[in-house]
Structures are given as structure tokens and as C-alpha cells.
């Protein structure tokens, strides 16, 4: 540069580097621009981007299993899922306490629904078992109350469990609760666990804490007078199966030590019930290793299961594998969606190009009338237009009637134009046509007629002039129209839903089904994420092959 006097960065008049002063001068402009878009940005962020992001997050999120069954899933990690046998007693014991809590909070059905996506029957298994867990608890409650009638009373329990201590156990139990239930259990429970009791009877203290938190904060009752639930008695029974605990209880002198010692004196009256058998009694499916496999596979907080499901795969004991042939639908649907969108885009080009050409070359008045005709469908509800196609396309519909009347089609062999791919293609081509015509028109409008004249004056026939000179210049319009139509149709929902039948539905119909009917939002989110990714990849490919600079929506 000849106007720099020395090497180094160019300086402004006041000696600051030119780049700095330029940036300062432009900052105001940038802030202004940002302020202008801020309201829309905020609106879109809050109402659109964040909800969609959380929705997409659901495609991998899977906390429900470990949150609902925290101890059971922890215990399950030691189980060998290839053994072909149900897990051992400790898993079932953890399951009992987890499921008992979940049933009280009515969270077990949600988990059942979630696992039912992976293995049918799980939903009812959880529902019926949750309902009957009380009976299992009563196996201990009844003998304990017979032996020590004072333990029938909530006041006795409250006095026995209360004392002095750090209350760490209670807070740990509260954290588990909070993972499981949608709302959080904050606030004062009104209980300080005795450290001595908590150390001596760990299961009982944990179960009592669970009950106390739930009773005080969810049911909002006075825990000092209420009777604890059955699981607490079961916990006490389990604690007392340990001879060291029994010895410690016999040496204990805290409140109501005498009632506990009554129980230890009559241990022979306690049941020797195993939870594994109890669950098997509730439902023999609990001994089915496949149920436990499913629970174990889906116990991590994040899972690829929804995505595997969305591409017709599933998680087996040895990792991902294809689903059985008769359960595969999504890949077919994805391919069909892409293929039919291509067909629709192609027919939109074929039908729209001549119309756009006419629009661009007619005198303004006539072109305006034609433009209104093109836009007319836009002003009619999408639903109405699609329903109109239903009237036209059905076997007793207008088109078939005319063809039969004209004799082109035999009355017995009426064309099947609806509830299949044909119907979807016909109706969607009509509906998306304006999105092809408008960009084409706006590009063609900028091609001066002198190019065609020049080509002809140079000796080109009408066709050569069109194909060599006019068409290449209209390609950006075709590109823009194709992108619009293709991307719109790939995510189209209403029209395929109404005229598509089973052969003509798109992937979006399946997404809608999982959102509103089967309520498998995780799968819907995974399908949606894949669809989004496919569109982005296609867009990228398009950019690589055609070049996005070659897309013009106008002028």
C-alpha cells in the first residue's frame, strides 16, 4: 500500500489503529440492528426454539427408569443379563421398596408406560403389581402388630424414630423422592431421625423417612400421629433377620425399646417370605428375564433406544440389532417420504414452469389476473382444499364419475385415486404448486426478453433459444422452488393424513401419532430429529452440488 508511511497496522487520524476505530464506529450500528431484531428473537427463543430443543432432548432422555427404581437398578447392575434367569433376591427386595414408593406416589404407571414401548406387557405388569404391594407388606405388619400392639400406633413409631442426629439419611431419601416425582418435596418434614436407631435399623429408618417425607409434604398430614405404611413393617422385619441387629436391639434402651425387644423375643412368628417369590405370586412375568433385560438396558439416564427404534432397530443383550421384519416400518416410511416428496417436487416443476413463464411474459393486466388465480388456493383453508380433493378423488367421486360417464373407465374397475400414494401426490402437488410458481416467476421476471431475441437473431430456433439461453437462467428459480416444495412436503402432515390412507402417509403422520395417540414422545422426538437431520443433510448436499448462491427467490 502506497499510502501507509510505515509498516504495521494502518492508523486513524487520532493514532488508534484503523480497525479499532472502524469497529467502534460500527458498534452503534450493530447494537441498533440487534435491538431491532431483539423482540422477535426473544419471542422465537421462548416460544419456539427452547421448546423444540427440549422436545428434541426427549429423544435421548431416559431418567425415568433410574429415578423411579433407584435402588433396584443399582442392584441390577451386578446381574448377568445373559444368564437366562431372573435376578436374585436383593434386586427384588430393592424393587419392593422402590415400587412401593412409586405406587404410593402413582409414578409406577408412568414407568410401566415408558417400558411398554420397549416390551409390551410391562405396563400392566407394573400397574397390577403396584396395586398389590400392600399385601406383601402386610405379611410383616400383621405379626408385628400382634406381637407388639404398641407398634400399631403412629405415635409409638414417631417417638421411637425421633431423636438427635444429623438427619443425613432423611435428606438422602428426600433427594431420591425429588428425582422421582415431578414436583419437589421441599419444606420441613417435622422429624429428626435418631442416629442411634438409623444406625441400628437402617432399612426401617430409610422406609420410615420415605413415608414421613411423603406423608408430611405430599399428603400434608401430621406424621406424629399417623400410622406408617406397610413397607416400614417389612423393613423392620428385614432388619431383624440380621442376628447382630437383634443383639443390638436387645441392648438398646431408647424410646419404645421394650416394644422392639418384644418383637425380637418372638422372631419365630415373623414370616420367612422372600420377595422373589412374593413378586412371582403377584405376576409370574417378574421371573421372565426379558423384563429385567429391558429394565437393565434402559436404566442409564440417556439412551439411544428411541433413535434405534426410529430406524427399526432395538437394543438386545448383545447391543443394537434389527427388529423382526414384521415390526419394521420407519425406514420404509422415511424412504417413502423422501421419494414421494421428490415426485411431488418434480410434478410441481412440470406443472409450474409453463405457468410461471406465462405469468412473466404476459402483459401486466392479464398477468395480474392469472396471478390471482395462482394465489387463490392460498386464500382457502388447507383443510378445505384437501377435503375437496377427497370429494374429487374417491371411487364414487367426481373424477371417477366423469371417466365412467365418458366411457374411459369401466364402472366395475373405477380408479383408486385416494387412500394411497397417488392421492397424496395429486393433492400435495396442487397444494404446493404456488410455492414453485412464485419463485420461478420472480426469477423469470428478471430475465430480459432481449436474451431470447438475441439468441434468435443469432440463428437459434425457438427451442434452442429456450433451452440454451432462457432455461439456464431460470435454473435458480427452479432451485428455490424445489427447495421450498421439497422441504415443505417432507414434513407435510394434514394432506397425507386425509387422502393418504396407509400407503400414502408420511413420516410426519407417524410423528403426530406418537405425539398425540401413543404418547411416546421420545420416539416422536427421535423421528423428528432424524427428519430434521435428513433435511439439513439434503440442504448441504444441494449447496455442494447446485450452490445455494444459485437460489433466487426474487430480483
Amino acid at each position: 500500500m502506497s499510502d501507509t508511511t510505515s509498516s504495521g497496522p494502518m492508523l486513524a487520524a487520532d493514532g488508534t489503529p484503523l480497525k479499532t476505530s472502524l469497529a467502534r464506529a460500527l458498534r452503534r450500528q450493530k447494537i441498533r440492528a440487534l435491538a431491532l431484531i431483539a423482540p422477535l428473537l426473544l419471542f422465537v427463543m421462548i416460544t419456539f426454539i427452547i421448546p423444540i430443543a427440549t422436545m428434541l432432548f426427549r429423544s435421548v432422555e431416559n431418567q425415568i427408569v433410574s429415578a423411579t427404581l433407584p435402588e433396584a437398578t443399582a442392584a441390577l447392575q451386578a446381574w448377568d443379563q445373559t444368564s437366562g434367569e431372573a435376578p436374585s433376591e436383593d434386586v427384588f427386595q430393592a424393587l419392593f421398596f422402590d415400587l412401593f414408593k412409586a405406587a404410593e406416589a402413582k409414578e409406577h404407571t408412568k414407568l410401566g408406560t415408558r417400558l411398554n414401548y420397549e416390551q409390551t406387557g410391562t405396563s400392566s405388569l407394573f400397574r397390577t403389581s403396584g396395586r398389590n404391594l400392600d399385601d406383601v407388606g402386610e405379611e410383616w405388619q400383621d405379626p408385628i402388630e400382634d406381637i407388639a400392639p404398641a407398634l400399631e400406633d403412629g405415635e409409638t413409631w414417631y417417638a421411637m424414630m425421633s431423636g438427635t442426629g444429623s438427619n443425613d439419611l432423611l435428606e438422602a431419601r428426600r433427594a431420591l423422592w425429588n428425582d422421582m416425582v415431578p414436583d419437589t418435596f421441599n419444606g420441613d418434614v417435622g422429624l429428626t431421625l435418631s442416629d442411634e436407631i438409623a444406625g441400628m435399623l437402617p432399612l426401617t429408618a430409610a422406609a420410615y423417612s420415605d413415608w414421613a417425607i411423603f406423608e408430611a409434604l405430599e399428603e400434608e398430614r401430621d406424621i406424629s400421629t399417623r400410622d406408617p405404611w406397610e413397607a416400614v413393617y417389612a423393613a423392620l422385619g428385614l432388619d431383624l433377620r440380621n442376628p447382630e441387629t437383634v443383639a443390638a436391639v436387645n441392648a438398646y434402651s431408647g424410646p419404645h425399646a421394650e416394644d422392639l425387644q418384644l418383637v425380637t423375643a418372638n422372631l419365630d412368628q415373623m414370616p420367612d417370605l422372600m420377595f422373589r417369590d412374593a413378586f412371582a405370586d403377584l405376576d409370574e412375568d417378574w421371573l421372565d428375564p426379558e423384563v429385567w433385560q429391558t429394565i437393565k438396558i434402559y436404566s442409564p439416564d440417556y439412551t439411544s433406544g428411541y433413535f434405534l427404534n426410529a430406524i427399526d432397530m432395538e437394543k438386545g443383550p448383545d447391543g443394537a440389532q434389527m427388529r423382526p421384519e414384521n415390526q419394521q416400518i420407519y425406514i420404509t416410511l422415511f424412504i417413502r417420504t423422501l421419494w414421494m416428496s421428490l415426485v411431488i417436487t418434480g410434478s410441481c416443476i412440470l406443472l409450474g414452469y409453463p405457468v410461471a413463464w406465462l405469468l412473466a411474459n404476459l402483459p401486466l393486466r392479464t398477468a395480474n389476473v392469472l396471478m390471482i388465480l395462482v394465489l387463490l388456493p392460498f386464500w382457502t383453508s388447507l383443510l378445505v382444499r384437501t377435503s375437496a380433493w377427497k370429494v374429487l378423488l374417491q371411487q364414487q367421486g367426481v373424477i371417477n364419475e366423469i371417466l365412467v360417464w365418458l366411457g374411459f373407465v369401466d364402472d366395475a374397475n373405477r380408479l383408486i385415486l385416494m387412500n394411497n400414494a397417488t392421492g397424496t401426490v395429486i393433492a400435495m402437488t396442487h397444494i404446493l404448486l404456488p410455492f414453485m410458481i412464485l419463485p420461478l416467476y420472480s426469477v423469470m421476471k428478471t430475465i430480459p426478453p432481449s436474451y431470447l431475441r438475441a439468441a434468435k437473431s443469432l440463428g437459434a430456433t425457438n427451442w434452442t433459444a429456450f433451452w440454451r439461453v432462457y432455461f439456464p437462467q431460470s435454473v435458480p428459480g427452479i432451485g428455490a422452488g424445489s427447495i421450498l416444495v421439497f422441504i415443505l412436503s417432507i414434513g407435510y402432515y394434514i394432506t397425507p393424513e386425509i387422502v393418504g390412507g396407509t400407503d400414502g402417509v408420511f413420516i410426519s403422520n407417524r410423528i403426530a401419532y406418537h405425539i398425540s395417540s401413543s404418547l411416546n414422545w421420545g420416539l416422536a422426538a427421535a423421528l423428528g430429529t432424524i427428519l430434521l437431520a435428513v433435511v439439513l443433510v439434503l440442504y448441504w448436499l444441494y449447496d455442494r452440488i447446485v450452490g445455494i448462491d444459485n437460489v433466487k427467490l426474487g430480483g
Binding site: 430480459p448 432481449s450 436474451y451 431475441r453 438475441a454 439468441a455 434468435k456 437473431s457 443469432l458 440463428g459 437459434a460 430456433t461 425457438n462 434452442t464 433459444a465 440454451r468 439461453v469 439456464p472 437462467q473
Partner: protein, 367 residues
């Protein structure tokens, strides 16, 4: 070369009429004959029908009535691409998606010439317009003047005998335009091409053409070589349109035998003028005199000149010339141009003086 009666005419318009809406004629009874090799300019204000004539010749418009002949053959029913006429468009119409070389090869390709012949001809055409190094560029990468050259080369590359140009220099700046005017005429004469050139710029028309056809209201008002057109306009439209002109309105009082007539101006002054399209005493007339033929220095007036009183209204210094606006016989737009010479006074507004001119330079035209 300018013989109108030449029956060997290469391009001929025979009583051609054109109407777009069936109510108004855009071109009214056009008759024109051009010999081979002539450079003819159609000059006129916009809407005068000149471009329509060009488009009819090129085949993009059809004549409503009459016959257009090319080399003796009627071409009314021949489509444009078979007429073999080269054309240069106002905005050049270079195909933006092709390189310069592809643009030039296009007319050769559609004529199915061999690749080697094509390349040879493209190269020669590019060299002809001194653009040999630009074959690989896109039109958008060229300047306006370069695009103009390419458009010219493309119109000439297939060696047409007739080339049409529709205001080809309209988008260029003044200097470039003057340069291109020279180049186009040189090429046209060197190659012996018959050229029809449309413009609304009279300087362009005067400097480039063998003959100029002045269009107005769908008719040719005058068809003549540039000097004749300037010095001997046949009617007041041509006089007004070509160059600058002073007009004084009046009535013919006497036709004299010596090729002059006596005109009584509306202000009462009597002057003599050369009758052009006035025929008898009593005709209203518009007397036209070129600004550079008026003399403001009484001492330099030639023998036989007559004088009028004038008052200076405005003096404009234009570098090579002075332009003085005067009030003469009630006309406040009377302009005199004088050379910027050392002895030429710079007049101040309000100066009273006498001006004069030769009656032969003064033409009595239709009113």
C-alpha cells in the same frame, strides 16, 4: 451510394405500416431503400417508431401492412433465426451463463459449424474488437465498454450481411461512447456491412452515418446525409431536432424571385429568408437560424446581411465556446454561439447590441 432510386437496394421497406392495438399506427407508410454497405441511422425521439422499424426488420415484430425486402426477397414470413441478420442490443444481451468465447460461439454452434472452424472464427472476431485475451471471462466480469465490444463481435462473428444496432452505446459514458462510435463505423466500413443503427442521440447519428432517417410520429421526416440534414432541414421538426436552432415566427409577405422570401416577424421586423416549405405570401412560417451563423460583431458582418436589435439576457462560458442568450424580436430563447477567441467580448446581461446574419442561412419552414 445515397441514390434513392437505386433498384439494387439491399434493404427495402415498401409502404410498411404497423399498429399494436388496431387503433393507432405506430409506423405510418414507411418507404426506405438502402444500398449494400450503407450505414443508415434511424434517429428520433422515443415513441417515434424507429425501434419498431428495427424490430420488424429483425423479425421480432410483424408488419401490419406492406412489405419488407431483404436483398430483393420479401422476408415478412421468415422467422428471425432464418433471416441471418446480426443484432446488437441496447443492454448487449450477452448470455450471462456463458463465457465470452461461448457467447461468440453460440451463433456458430447453432449453424452446426465444426469445432475447429468455430474456434478460428471466435478468435478472429475477438481479435477484431481487441478482446482476444478475454475469451474465458464471464460477461459480468467485463466493463461496459468491453461488453459492448463483445456484443458487437457476437453480432458479426457469423458474418451477416446486415447488422442492426439498437441504441448500443446508450449505457456508456461520454468518452467511451465517442471512442466506440469511431470503432463501430470503422468496422462497418472495413467489413463492408450494411448497418441500420437506431439512436436518439443526434451527435451519434451525425458522426457515424452515411445517411440519417429522422423519425417522428411514425414517419420519416427527412432522409439525408448528415451535412444536408444539418444545413438544409426540410421542416421545422428536423431543424429543431438536429442541433441547436433559433426560431422566429412570422408571416410570409412576399415570395421573391431570387430564391428568398420576405417575412414579417410577429414583432413587426422584416427579414429575408430562404423559403423551404412555404409557397406563397400569407403562409405562416417559422424562420430557423443556427446559433453559430449569427454574428454579434457588427464589423464582421458580411455583405447582404441584415441586422436586428438584441439584448443580452445571459452569458454562459462553456470552455471552447461562449453561449449567449439574447432577446431578439420578442424571442427570449435566442442563442448565439461564438468561438472562444481572444477578440471575442464576454457580454454582460443587459447589453444592447445589433446582431446579423446572411439571409441564405435563414430558412423559412412550416409553422
Amino acid at each position: 451510394m445515397t441514390d434513392l432510386a437505386n433498384d439494387q437496394s439491399f434493404v427495402k421497406f415498401d409502404r410498411v405500416q404497423k399498429s399494436y392495438d388496431g387503433e393507432n399506427l405506430v409506423v405510418k407508410d414507411l418507404n426506405l431503400a438502402m444500398p449494400k454497405g450503407e450505414f443508415l441511422t434511424m434517429l428520433g425521439p422515443s415513441g417515434s417508431g424507429k425501434t419498431t422499424c428495427l424490430m420488424m426488420l429483425a423479425g421480432f415484430e410483424t408488419a401490419t401492412h406492406g412489405e419488407i425486402l431483404l436483398d430483393g426477397k420479401p422476408i415478412n414470413n421468415i422467422p428471425p433465426h432464418k433471416r441471418g441478420i446480426g443484432m446488437v442490443f441496447q443492454n448487449y444481451a450477452l448470455f450471462p451463463h456463458m463465457t465470452v468465447a461461448e457467447n461468440l460461439a453460440f451463433p456458430l454452434e447453432v449453424r452446426k459449424l465444426d469445432k475447429s472452424v468455430r474456434e478460428e472464427k471466435v478468435k478472429r472476431a475477438l481479435d477484431m474488437v481487441q478482446m482476444g485475451a478475454f475469451g474465458g471471462r464471464r460477461p459480468a466480469q467485463l466493463s461496459g465498454g468491453q461488453q459492448q465490444r463483445i456484443a458487437l463481435a457476437r453480432a458479426l462473428v457469423f458474418e451477416p450481411e446486415l447488422v442492426l444496432m439498437d441504441e448500443p452505446l446508450g449505457a456508456l459514458d461520454k468518452q467511451l461512447r465517442e471512442h466506440m462510435q469511431f470503432e463501430i463505423t470503422r468496422l462497418a466500413h472495413d467489413l463492408g456491412i450494411t448497418t441500420v443503427y437506431v439512436t436518439h442521440d443526434q451527435t451519434e447519428a451525425l458522426t457515424m452515418s452515411d445517411r440519417v432517417a429522422v423519425f417522428e410520429d411514425g414517419r420519416i421526416q427527412q432522409l439525408a446525409p448528415p451535412d444536408t440534414l444539418y444545413e438544409e432541414p426540410e421542416n421545422s421538426f428536423v431543424a429543431q431536432f438536429i442541433g441547436e436552432n433559433n426560431t422566429l415566427e412570422g408571416v410570409v409577405t412576399e415570395m421573391k424571385g431570387d430564391g428568398l422570401c420576405e417575412v414579417k416577424l410577429d414583432g413587426g421586423e422584416i427579414i429575408y429568408a430562404k423559403p423551404v416549405n412555404v409557397t406563397k405570401a400569407g403562409d405562416r412560417t417559422r424562420v430557423s437560424i443556427r446559433p453559430e451563423r449569427v454574428e454579434m460583431n457588427k464589423e464582421r458582418l458580411q455583405e447582404g446581411a441584415h441586422t436586428l436589435k438584441a439584448e443580452v439576457l445571459e452569458f454562459i462560458y462553456m470552455g471552447d465556446i461562449f453561449r449567449t442568450r439574447l432577446r431578439v424580436a420578442g424571442n427570449e430563447e435566442f442563442v448565439v454561439k461564438t468561438r472562444n477567441a481572444p477578440d471575442q467580448p464576454r457580454l454582460t446581461p443587459g447589453t444592447q447590441l445589433e446582431i446579423g446574419w446572411l439571409p441564405e442561412d435563414c430558412r423559412a419552414l412550416d409553422a
